[in-house]
């Protein structure tokens, strides 16, 4: 942090001002002139919260993607299919047992199994051939998409929110003042906050596992130079399978999350594939903190964009990607 400030004082200043401005927008009571210019504060706060929670979902999807890429140099374009598969599994479990938590566990296990099968049967056979692996994942995503369409049909599914999470919660954020001077607080769906908190916990757990444990050390070493790592006697194939299972399982969990606060249908796989692509391009390939930052930026851009410039929302996301590629092609937080 201090190094960044020392090396780029101008950028650091801009970032600090932007953060201060954002905090002021979130916490202050807006003066009437501002409300006239860009609309009610409640709309803005809702968009911000939607953006942050959507960012949490994007992080879950993209972290698996970036983890797999970082270690195996495998651009898994079937990642969106794993997401959708996890969602369908979660729906089936929650519809048959009624347990929301159980649907997460089963979805994680089943998608992780699919990931293991993919790694063992397919990718191990073409190690080091990046382009061919990517092609195979494209073919697999087509096959998976059609199989899922076959099994689940073209309907929309939504996983029911458990009763203890239904309903809004009042947050200590003032959206407006009534004419009597009484503050009005923001009300926000509890389930989205819980899911966001869970994704933060998962993110921190992943960071700790990568930076503080032995297996994490092995994985980081593999990201840097897998040949040397293999030469030191680490059974790298086992590590590969493990990471692939974890990455796929995270996509499965994300599917259940997405099925709860959005919906599942054919085409969602592509949407989330695109989201994870943009997130990791912005954040930096192979970097978990990068995925978190990218997910936050893209989630916020998407939601704020769809509130304030509805027909050009996707362009904002895209422009961010272009800007990052132009200024820092390796992504915001990548080392390289």
């Amino acid at each position: 942090m201090t190094r960044f400030v020392e090396r780029h004082p101008a950028w650091a200043l801009i970032v600090i001002i932007a953060i201060a401005l954002a905090l002021w927008l979130i916490f202050a009571v807006w003066p009437p002139g501002l409300e006239e210019a860009i609309g009610r504060k409640r709309v803005f706060l809702n968009a911000v919260f939607n953006g942050i929670t959507l960012g949490g979902l994007y992080f879950l999807v993209a972290s698996g993607f970036t983890l797999i890429f970082g270690l195996m140099r495998n651009v898994n374009l079937a990642h969106g299919s794993l997401y959708l598969f996890g969602g369908y599994v979660g729906y089936a479990i929650s519809a048959s047992t009624g347990s929301w938590i159980l649907s997460f566990i089963i979805a994680f296990i089943l998608t992780a199994l699919v990931g293991i099968l993919l790694q063992v049967i397919v990718f191990r056979r073409m190690e080091g051939q990046d382009l061919r692996q990517t092609m195979v994942t494209i073919g697999l995503s087509i096959v998976f998409a059609d199989l899922m369409l076959w099994a689940a049909g073209g309907d929309f599914y939504q996983i029911p929110t458990p009763s203890w999470l239904i309903g809004p919660i009042e947050l200590p954020l003032i959206t407006a003042l009534k004419s009597s001077g009484e503050p009005v607080y923001l009300r926000y769906p509890l389930v989205r906050l819980v899911i966001f908190a869970a994704s933060v916990v998962i993110g921190i757990a992943m960071w700790l596992a990568l930076n503080r444990t032995r297996i994490g050390m092995i994985i980081r070493a593999g990201v840097d130079d897998r040949d040397i790592l293999a030469a030191t006697g680490v059974r790298i194939q086992v590590v590969f399978v493990l990471v692939f299972a974890l990455g796929a399982g995270l996509a499965g969990i994300a599917g259940v999350v997405g099925g709860t606060f959005q919906s599942l249908s054919p085409g969602e796989d592509i949407r989330f594939l695109l989201a994870s692509l943009v997130v990791v391009i912005v954040g930096g390939m192979g970097s978990i903190p990068g995925a978190a930052l990218g997910a936050l930026i893209i989630g916020l851009a998407e939601q704020l964009g769809s509130v304030y410039i509805p027909t050009y929302a996707i362009v904002v996301t895209f422009l961010i990607m272009v800007l990052v590629l132009a200024l820092r092609p390796q992504g915001l937080l990548a080392r390289r």
Binding site: R73, V75, L77, G128, Q129, D130, L131, R132, T134, M135, V136, I138, G139, L140, I142, V143, A145, D146, L147, W150, I270, L273, L274, L277, V278, V280, I281, M285, P310, T311, Y312, A313, I314, V315, T317, F318, M321, V322, L325, A326, P329, Q330
Partner: protein
């Protein structure tokens, strides 16, 4: 650096070295090529309207889009998934500048003004996308171009001012001049055939021109080319510009063919179809994409009947395509022409390897 090395295509690397051995004209001594050319020319005598347009013209259009991908991937080592997006952009531009049912969007320009405009804008669009994509290398290119394609798809879905949202633009005007309706089956077939042939020979020519050879050098070893004084990125962006122009030509034909354009035509699935066509056909030679397109169109048209006939669900066409694509990727990195070449080599093993050459 190693990424581009992986992305390159193994065959044909020798063509730069054996410069004197290169033929002046492609396939001029190959009887099979002459037969194919003659059959294509007299096709309207053989085939009825359905085959002429739905099979052959569609094949040539899709093949030309895939040809632009083949040019980038085979000679430039850049697998771009946005070629269909460029074609779709050109198609949209023809609809926007030309005439259509959506009078509030279409400007109503005559076709000879709208088409050059569309071509110029689509080429600029593709070059800009390429300029972005060349900032990274290898498999990153796939991701960035896929992101561009997907973003364009969602944008056309959202935007009503120019792209008319998810309904798209209908009843796009087609050219009529010299008393001929050029969208009638037979004239349209010849237009498509002419454009496809032009693009095919242009790609063949450029692959042997200094620019194409430099591009193949960039594909094989960008560092060495940079050390020799070549501007690596400029060559890559120029390759994108040329490929975008080819794709834009095909896009104009496509919108004339269907007379309408909607986001469904530029969806991510359709972008990937182009990659499938190019890979299945083979991305080492310009003829590959056309073979791939023929297979794809035949499958798309007849798979339903065929699947029903053997007692399966007819809607599983995409499953068939996906499995076929997987099989090709697994067993022949060189597509169908690679299989064919290997089969021929096995038939004629005693022959010296120099006989057939490499192109």
């Amino acid at each position: 650096m190693s990424l581009t090395h992986d992305a390159r295509v193994p065959v044909r690397t020798a063509s730069g070295v054996q410069r004197p051995a290169l033929r002046g004209w492609p396939e001029i001594d190959n009887p099979a090529a002459w037969i194919v050319a003659i059959v294509l020319l007299i096709m309207p005598l053989i085939a009825n309207g359905f085959f002429l347009i739905e099979i052959f013209a569609t094949t040539l259009i899709l093949g030309t889009i895939a040809l632009s991908l083949m040019f980038l991937a085979g000679y430039g080592g850049m697998v771009s998934l946005m070629q269909l997006t460029v074609a779709g952009f050109a198609a949209y531009m023809v609809a926007v500048f030309g005439t259509s049912d959506n009078a509030n969007i279409s400007l109503g320009w005559p076709w000879w003004l709208a088409v050059p405009m569309a071509l110029a804008l689509a080429t600029a669009f593709g070059s800009l996308g390429g300029a972005l994509a060349v900032r990274t290398e290898g498999i990153y290119t796939i991701m960035i171009t896929l992101a561009i394609g997907a973003a364009f798809y969602y944008f056309t879905n959202q935007n009503w001012a120019i792209f008319n949202g998810h309904t798209g633009i209908n009843n796009v005007g087609t050219p009529r001049f010299w008393g001929v309706n050029w969208r009638a089956d037979i004239p349209f077939y010849y237009i498509v055939l002419g454009v496809a042939a032009l693009c095919y020979f242009a790609v063949e020519y450029i692959s042997r021109a200094p620019f194409g050879l430099a591009l193949q050098g960039v594909r094989d070893n960008p560092r060495r080319m940079a050390a020799l004084g070549f501007n690596v990125n400029a060559h890559r962006v120029a390759a994108y510009a040329f490929a975008s122009f080819v794709a834009a030509l095909a896009g104009v034909l496509q919108v004339w063919n269907y007379r309408q354009i909607s986001p469904g035509s530029v969806s991510v699935g359709a972008c990937i179809d182009i990659l499938i066509i190019a890979i299945v056909g083979g991305i080492t030679r310009p003829i590959g994409p056309y073979i791939g397109a023929l297979i794809f169109v035949l499958l798309r048209t007849f798979a339903l009947d065929f699947l029903v006939k053997i007692g399966l669900d007819g809607n599983r066409f995409r499953l068939l395509i996906g499995l076929g694509f997987l099989a090709i990727v697994f067993w022949s990195s060189d597509g169908v022409i690679g299989l064919w070449q290997r089969w021929r080599e096995r038939l004629s093993t005693p022959r010296s390897s120099g006989g057939r050459g490499h192109g």
